[in-house]
Amino acid sequence: MMISAATTTEGGASLPLDGEVDARHGPILYMEDVSVSFDGFRALNHLSLYIDDGELRCLIGPNGAGKTTLMDVITGKTKPDSGSVFFGQTIDLLELDEPAIAQAGICRKFQKPSVFDALTVFENLELALKTDKRTWPTLFHKLNSEQRDRIHDVLQTIALPAQQRQLAGALSHGQKQWLEIGMLLMQDPKVMLVDEPIAGMTHQEVERTAELLLSLQGRHSIVVVEHDMEFVRSIARKVTVLHEGSVLTEGTMDEVQNDTRVIQVYLGG
């Protein structure tokens, strides 16, 4: 396989867009005592979670445990009723809206693949490119050779170079997942939130995804939500189990899988 961290992380133009993320004193992402309710239903219930700089964290839990809601809170889609969410020591994410959070360096892949069907694969990646996102600069934007190379690197990484001129709407489900991961790479974010990346993928594609995610840790902090235990086992150092909107337990895959509460939640419920 041709996956390496170099093609995906070092090839790109480094642009001075990041805010000042201060992660010198530990975690890059703090969630403390966060609660979210929808019409009285608690989707997140006094949840606290800390993600270290460069860490690859897996988030598991039964359907409806609040995993997607957690990502919605971090990326500004949902504002919590209470609690605090910080990016590094200094950036209060609850004060920022979605574009500001994305520009600060927190990017996500959605559970339902969300690519732009009416645009080509190449254009999808171009839109995600980390660059000036204001209207006038966008109007006059021309790709320079460095940026073009970067897009081609990512096309290689996500195994879609032959489809670059195809409309994204014509891709298979698995390919759309990859394209969205590619868009994540184009943004070169500090934190990647990856919601159920392998749904609809072939066995081979799953293996490549695992390799890719592993190659990205260190330079990026990554939070992966997944149901597939085998997949989680293949990538995880540390696993967090979510249940009914709060953290049930945290630990290595083995610790977690032998935890009686986890077994109960998954089997007995």
């Binding site: 889609k77 809206d97 574009p99 969300s114 069907d117 839109l127 204001r134 006059f140």
Partner: protein, 372 residues
């Protein structure tokens, strides 16, 4: 380049050539051939064609905001009318002492209302440059304020459409009032000169047609450039998946606002070109029905293609001229019927039919290769 782009480019080129021919040949014919020649166009037909072209420009402006940004504006006519009023105000000031009351400063309707001085907002309109600036600024500013409020509070879909309709209706009521100082019910009319030349003369009519054609061609080229820019792609992405675009770091509301304001200014220009050719601007241009008609032109032509809006605007308005001549009462029914037919049977409009004929099976397949 893939097949779809190629057929699109061919139609686009044909439309450009047709526009250039109309724009250049008609004034040229009138210059060369004597009045009794079969190749000489009457002042009436020159103005009629000129009017169609201003509608084409108006349709084009709606296609930018509806076809590409996905904002179904049901008040695009308001921006057209504002541009028209700005031009009308300049033309009123040109009348000078030749009005019925012979007042050098005040237009007739103000004298009639016993006003003694020009309202402050009429100042400057005696200057053509200033008036042209207002042709863009007045609709642009209204669109900016309205769009800023609407898009920032994330008003979308049907709600947005309805409030744009309400906007044009509110303006209709306001401009009807004599106290507003825009001639009330009668609007602005009885124009004499434009830049010192007799506005009724055939030469001026030809030049106005030429200006309209050139503006339309220029606008089409500009719109196409915008649509093919990265901003154009962001806007398309917003149309299809608005919230997703936010997570890529784009301020969606500002992109919508940009296109909305741009389209409003284009509509304003169309209105400014329309008024000297039809000789009047009155509040009926703000009527909600007018704005609905623009949507129908674009739907009939084919939305999201730019030239489709031009084809649709010209064809529907030609049909309107013919039909209102034959059966004046039937026009609204025909228009409604056309809209239903197009919505049900040709969702991509006339352009869609053309494309389907030139390409038997729509495929999304494309060849690889470096994007240019």
């Amino acid at each position: 380049m893939n097949l779809q782009n190629l057929t699109q480019d061919k139609t686009y080129a044909s439309v450009l050539i047709a526009l250039a021919s109309v724009t250049l040949l008609i004034p040229l014919c009138n210059l060369i051939f004597p009045e009794d020649s079969a190749l000489h166009f009457s002042a009436y037909s020159v103005s009629l064609i000129g009017k169609y072209l201003t509608f084409a420009l108006l349709g084009l402006s709606l296609d930018m905001v509806w076809g590409y940004a996905g904002i179904l504006v049901l008040g695009q006519g308001a921006f057209f009318a504002l541009g028209g009023y700005a031009m009308g105000m300049y033309l009123m000031r040109q009348i000078g002492t030749r009005g019925v009351y012979g007042n050098a400063e005040l237009p007739d309707f103000m004298v009639f209302l016993n006003w003694t001085e020009l309202p402050w907002y009429w100042n400057g309109f005696e200057n053509f440059g200033f008036a042209m600036l207002m042709v863009f600024l007045a609709p642009g500013l209204l669109a900016f304020v309205f769009g800023w409020l609407a898009f920032r509070s994330r008003v979308t879909g049907v709600y947005l459409s309805i409030i744009t309709q309400a906007l044009t209706y509110a303006l209709l009521l306001a401009f009807f009032r004599n106290e507003m100082g825009f001639g009330g019910n009668n609007g602005l009319t009885d124009f004499k000169d434009i830049l010192g030349f007799n506005i009724q003369s055939e030469a001026v009519r030809s030049i106005l047609l030429l200006m309209t054609g050139l503006s339309l061609i220029g606008a089409l080229l500009l719109c196409r450039w915008i649509v093919n820019s990265k901003l154009g792609r962001v806007v398309t992405a917003v149309r299809d998946q608005e919230s997703r675009v936010r997570f890529l770091g784009y301020r969606v509301e500002l992109f919508k606002l940009w296109v909305f304001v741009f389209a409003a200014m284009l509509a304003g220009l169309a209105g400014a070109l329309y008024v000297p050719q039809v000789g009047i601007i009155n509040p009926s241009e703000f009527s909600p029905l007018n704005s609905l008609e623009i949507v129908i032109w674009v739907a009939v032509g084919g939305r999201g293609t730019l030239y489709g809006a031009i084809i649709g605007a010209v064809l529907v308005n030609y049909a309107k001229t013919v039909l209102t001549g034959l059966m004046p009462d039937a026009w609204l029914f025909c228009l409604g019927g056309a809209f239903i037919l197009v919505t049900l049977l040709m969702p991509d409009g006339i352009v869609g039919l053309l494309r389907r004929r030139s390409k038997p099976k729509p495929t999304l397949n494309a060849t690889g290769g470096q994007p240019a």
